[in-house]
């Protein structure tokens, strides 16, 4: 499903990624490790289609609408409520029965009580949980998570663990510089330097 040959990305003079080769099949779980600054975030953004490669090739055989991306930013509107945020994304991703699905996710991630609060009032852990809801809202076939545990509180972390360990033919790529947690789920590893 994903094929990278000699993938690289430059930002002006700076070369952040160089010569990345890997292939990932459907249903596999890739753990991307590496110290800070090794390009994990850039790699995930390339996979998500937010960046284009400057060197090499990258083939991701999936529609944009089937990809779920959780980056460093929660990608949520501070002045909209949790429900409104999910409703907007539900519309854009053409989620069927989006209200029900949003409600279900909010409940599962413990945000049902605050569903009508603007996200500006959320704690960091709550924001990250809502971001996770946003990511999973449209039941993506490819899940891209960039340091997902870093902003999560314990409750959220447990829920994410459960989610990652769960069933489904999903392909997952997680970037983390603390891989112990995720190692249990992953089938493949890619180390960046």
């Amino acid at each position: 499903m994903i094929r990278a040959y000699g993938l690289g990305r430059r930002f002006g003079e700076r070369r952040v990624l160089k010569g990345i080769d890997f292939q990932l099949g459907q249903g596999e779980f890739l753990l991307v490790t590496g110290p800070n600054g090794s390009g994990k975030t850039t790699l995930l953004r390339l996979l998500a289609g937010l960046l284009a490669p400057t060197d090499g090739t990258l083939e991701v055989e999936i529609d944009r609408g089937r990809v779920g991306f959780l980056g460093h930013e929660p990608l949520l509107y501070r002045h909209l409520t949790a429900l409104e945020n999910l409703d907007l994304y539900g519309r854009l991703y053409r989620v069927s029965e989006r209200r029900e699905r949003a409600g279900m996710l909010l409940e599962r991630y413990g945000l049902w009580e605050v569903r009508a609060e603007p996200t500006a009032s959320f704690s960091r852990g709550m924001m990250q949980r809502l971001a996770l809801c946003r990511t999973l809202l449209h039941q993506p076939e490819l899940l891209l998570l960039d340091e997902p545990f870093s902003a999560l509180d314990t409750q959220g972390a447990e829920l994410l663990d459960a989610e990652l360990g769960g069933n489904g033919p999903r392909t997952v790529v997680v970037a983390s510089h603390q891989p112990e947690r995720i190692a249990a789920h992953s089938t493949r590893r890619l180390a960046l330097t």
Binding site: A52, R64, L92
Partner: protein
């Protein structure tokens, strides 16, 4: 098609709801344009003709519009939410159209106060003036949104937008002032419509190149 329009509607609605809650942009625009109109009274020497006042209105409009345009994308960039929109499967041009419609709405709100104020301070409104403003609004919103997206991606951001915008908006001023003051406003209104058509299509088509990395 309906999916496209529904995306546009959802995006425009989002901007309007946010504005309703934060009230960041429209009140500032209102205050600015009324203040500008007052300043013009003192800037214009005694005995200035109505022509000068008409021209001044267009300056006020243009700079007020810049307030709205600057905010259009800088907020999305700073909160990072533009990425969220780019990840979604919607057409990039739908993002542009949604923003353009919300900018248009802000302009209309501001003008709903500014034009009566103008009528109060200077000259009664004519239908040609209003038509000119309406047509110019479209040009300002369409081109301005595109240029705003361009500027938001640079280091200079808000500083760059007036530089990019004013030369392109010049024909709008010419058309607008002409519609306001000329004996035959029809030609100027037609010109404004032409401008709107050309630049709306250009902006619509080129937005995706400007906003993707």
């Amino acid at each position: 098609m309906t999916g496209y329009l529904s995306d546009v509607a959802a995006l425009a609605r989002k901007d309007l709801v946010v504005e309703l809650r934060t009230r960041d942009t429209v009140p500032a625009m209102l205050l600015f344009i009324v203040a500008a109109l007052v300043v013009f009274h003192f800037a214009l020497p005694e005995g200035s003709s109505r022509l000068a006042a008409g021209g001044m209105l267009w300056i006020a409009l243009l700079f007020t519009a810049l307030l709205a345009l600057v905010r259009a994308f800088v907020g999305e960039r700073e909160e990072g939410t533009l990425d969220g929109l780019l990840l979604a499967p919607c057409d990039r041009s739908a993002i542009w159209l949604g923003k353009t419609l919300s900018v248009l709405a802000f302009l209309l709100f501001a003008e709903a106060v500014a034009l009566p104020a103008f009528a109060l301070f200077y000259e009664p409104l004519t239908w040609e003036l209003v038509a000119g403003v309406a047509l110019a609004n479209v040009g300002i919103a369409t081109v301005g949104t595109l240029l705003g997206a361009m500027a938001a991606a640079t280091r200079a951001r808000e500083l760059l937008l007036p530089l990019l915008f004013l030369p392109v908006a010049l024909p709008l001023v010419i058309g607008g002032v002409g519609a306001t003051l000329a004996d035959e406003p029809g030609r100027y209104l037609a010109f404004l419509a032409l401008y709107d058509l050309i630049f709306a299509i250009l902006s619509w088509a080129s937005f995706e190149y400007v906003v993707t990395e």
